[in-house]
């Protein structure tokens, strides 16, 4: 089985020692889960799945070495066109829309949709039975398009995690779920409370995706894929994962009978669906901690750097707005209103996926810090402005009457007092930023929430992992709350005399 190390640091070690072959940068979302690409429940540091094996074969055929790049599934094509990686093999169905913007190889897998209902349900067997029912599916999938085209009334509920649609089906929030055959096979079939009904519905092909602007490379990929299909390697992988089906067999002129046993599928079922004792569960949680820890460090890194940026930007904007030339003032107001008035998520998308269209392609980390920094800078600007305005104008008079110029008055008299006023709201914003940093997972940053999603999608333990991740966020936020309280108490000099201890004043000025 191929092993891919999730962490960049490990990547570098790996690369440094075996860096002879050229890299085949492969983009995928390992949150997409089994059997596509997912973290090995037995070893969280490795990614497994039938697509992992196909990509590895492909790379071998091309004389290259796979370098895995994480990105959220929705952003896979955008990331490819940003040149963050060279190919995408991650359950991307060949559609005319997508073929407009990327190149598709011949299919490496042919499949269909499967209808799943509760085991006790005897009324639903085909699509026609779904009248007036609540049916779950994945957003943006073929299954959703099929359901939307039905002419009778029904309620289609879109999910972004397949596992959630099945768990809602079990508890009765849904009457049926229509999803890809492979997903039903891995997530519904092993569940005794659910059953797959009827035959295959619809038809779809998964293809290897490359950029349109590099036809030479695309031809190399296509040729390599064709070769490993012809020599039966892809078939063996599909069999191993219990995915070999009549459609693929027909397309490649083979027998639908599998030649090899589904070892990977059996292993998955035995691991993913086994009952755990509490001790095993705790051990499993403990095994998550190193990964969550690394995610937490990334979250902290992004958050602190963004916050420093936000505070500098905020201060400059507040000063511009209070004291600037009318044009500068107008720009400051425009910045605050635009960045405060639009969602952070959209700003991140624009910075990461939008800017490349005007020739500015940013590194994910830089884009994350810039997005968060710009967004929170607009909030900090208002904090500082309020803080500065809360200092009586007579303080400026007194400073200037003593011969200080405007800047000296601001730096030595106004800002030190304003800082004290703004510490509570700024701390508040930092905690908010720490949590909002989870949004940068959409621009391919692997931080705490990404790690949560990856682990949860392979262990299905949304409750336990969710609580654990929330706890990690809480714990990493605590020191900052304490620190802010400390500064606040150090700077609190407007208490009545008796309450204030006489001590050396800490020097905590902005400049």
């Amino acid at each position: 089985m191929m092993k891919i190390f999730i962490f960049v640091i490990l990547f570098f070690h790996f690369n440094a020692s075996f860096a002879q072959k050229p890299k085949l940068r492969w983009g995928a979302d390992i949150e997409s889960g089994a059997p596509f690409s997912y973290t090995d429940p037995a070893d969280h540091k490795t990614v497994i799945g039938f697509e992992v094996e196909i990509v590895e074969l492909l790379a071998k055929e091309m004389g290259m070495e796979v370098e895995y790049v994480q990105n959220s599934w929705d952003g896979l094509i955008a990331g490819l066109n940003r040149n963050d990686y060279d190919i995408v093999v991650n359950g991307l169905e060949i559609t005319p829309d997508r073929a407009q913007v990327v190149h598709f190889s011949k299919p490496y897998y042919y499949t269909s949709e499967s209808l799943v209902v509760r085991a006790s349900n005897t009324n639903v067997a085909t699509l026609d039975d779904l009248k007036n029912k609540r049916v779950g599916t994945l957003d943006g999938s073929l299954a959703q398009r099929i359901l939307n085209q039905l002419t009778f009334p029904l309620t289609v509920v879109g999910y972004d995690e397949e596992i959630h649609s099945y768990s809602d089906l079990v508890i009765g929030r849904l009457d049926a779920v229509l999803l890809d055959e492979a997903i039903a096979l891995y997530y519904a079939k092993p569940n005794i409370e659910l059953k797959v009904v009827g035959g295959p519905i619809g038809y779809m092909e998964y293809g290897v995706v490359t950029r349109l602007n590099d036809p030479k490379f695309s031809r190399r990929v296509d040729a390599a894929l064709e070769k490993i299909i012809e020599n039966g390697s892809v078939q063996r992988i599909l069999e191993k994962w219990n995915l070999w089906n009549a459609m693929s067999a027909k397309a490649w002129g083979k027998s639908a009978e599998p030649l090899t046993p589904p070892v990977a599928y059996d292993k998955y079922i035995s691991e993913a669906w086994k009952k755990e004792t509490i001790v095993q569960k705790l051990k499993r949680y403990a095994s998550f901690l190193p990964l969550l820890g690394k995610g937490a460090i990334m979250t902290l890194e992004i958050s602190t750097i963004s916050m420093v940026l936000a505070m500098i930007l905020g201060l400059l904007t507040a000063l511009a707005r209070l004291y600037g030339h009318p044009v500068v003032k107008w720009l400051a107001v425009a910045y605050v209103e635009v960045f405060r008035g639009t969602p952070l998520l959209i700003q991140l998308y624009l910075i990461f996926y939008g800017l490349p269209y005007v020739g500015l392609t940013l590194d994910p980390f830089v884009a994350a810090v810039l997005g968060l920094g710009l967004n929170y800078g607009s909030c900090e600007a208002e904090n500082y402005r309020a803080g500065i305005l809360s200092i009586p104008k007579t303080q400026m008079d007194a400073a200037q009457a003593l011969g200080m110029n405007w800047f000296q008055s601001l730096r030595h008299i106004i800002l030190p007092q304003a800082v004290k006023v703004v510490i509570p709201p700024v701390t508040n914003d930092f905690i908010a930023l720490l949590k909002d940093s989870s949004l940068v997972s959409v621009i391919s940053m692997v931080e705490l929430t990404t790690v949560y999603g990856q682990l949860a999608s392979s262990s299905f333990d949304y409750l336990g992992l969710g609580l654990l991740t929330a706890l990690v966020y809480f714990v990493i936020g605590l020191p900052f709350v304490r620190l802010a309280r400390y500064f606040e108490s150090q700077l609190a000099n407007n208490l009545p005399g008796e309450q204030r201890t006489r001590r050396a004043r800490p020097k905590l000025f902005i400049f």
């Binding site: 008079d397 007194a398 009457a401 003593l402 011969g403 200080m404 000296q408 700077l491 000099n493």
Partner: protein, 249 residues
């Protein structure tokens, strides 16, 4: 003569506040400016060190000329104001001490920031001025731990720490309890005896009469009458002066 103000005018939002005021200030003078509220006394004082700008007329303060920024440009106005403020100290009605600094730091911040005076030097000088205003033991207190009278004396010491050649007071005792007024006036009197040039906007008529060298009575943005205290208090010429002083008899 240390300063000469010629025919200055100023309006706020088309409302005239100063209506052609001229005054010469001689070294060592203590000038008391009196007059009803809203007559422009404070604004006049703030024009002298450039905290307010005049619309017309000109001021010559220690050889530096100041006029409307419309004539010389805002930058030049600021530059000249800064030069003037090196020699002109100011004391405010509400003290305006810096609440985030100790009394000692209040005295040391401007010498350090503006003149780059070493900590040791400014520390010694600060203590000296605090002793002078009778606050030698309050150096390490914060402003809000002091009484109003003590705060105002600290504010005077803060102004003195910049070694000004003239001190402007904007109603320095108006915010004080009657019991605390005298301690501030005593400091001003002491400074007068040492030869400091001072200009006080005040309602303390007794102080003005007893200590001032010159009384300036203003009304409606104009100087109505000025002269030595014996003349203004003993034999006022103008009807408005007489009316105003009648309240204080």
């Amino acid at each position: 003569m240390v300063a000469s103000i010629q025919n200055v005018e100023k309006s706020f939002h088309q409302r005239p506040v100063l209506n052609g005021v001229s005054l010469d200030i001689t070294k060592g003078d203590l000038i008391a400016i009196i007059g009803p509220s809203g007559c422009g006394k404070s604004t006049f004082l703030r024009c002298i060190n450039g905290l307010e700008f005049v619309d017309k007329g000109k001021l010559e303060i220690f050889g530096t000329e100041l006029c409307s920024p419309l004539e010389i440009g805002a930058k030049e106005f600021q530059r000249r104001s800064l030069i003037i403020r090196q020699k002109v100290g100011m004391v405010f009605q509400s003290f305006n001490l810096f609440p985030h600094l100790t009394i000692l730091e209040n005295l040391m911040v401007a010498p350090k920031v503006v003149r780059n005076i070493s900590k040791t030097d400014s520390d010694a000088r600060a203590h000296e001025f605090l002793a002078k205003v009778g606050l030698g033991d309050k150096a390490h207190n914060y402003p809000d731990q002091l009484s109003g009278g003590q705060q105002q004396r600290a504010a005077i010491a803060r102004a003195l720490a910049m070694s000004p050649e003239i001190l402007l007071y904007d109603e320095p005792t108006s915010a004080l309890d009657p019991a605390l007024v005298n301690e501030v006036l005593r400091v001003m009197k002491q400074l007068d005896q040492e030869g400091m040039t001072q200009m006080v906007v005040t309602h303390e008529m007794r102080f003005a009469r007893d200590v001032a060298d010159k009384i300036v009575f203003m009304d409606h943005g104009k100087i109505v009458e000025m002269g030595p205290p014996e003349q203004i208090f003993g034999n006022p010429q103008d009807e408005r002066t007489k009316n105003f002083l009648r309240h204080f008899q």
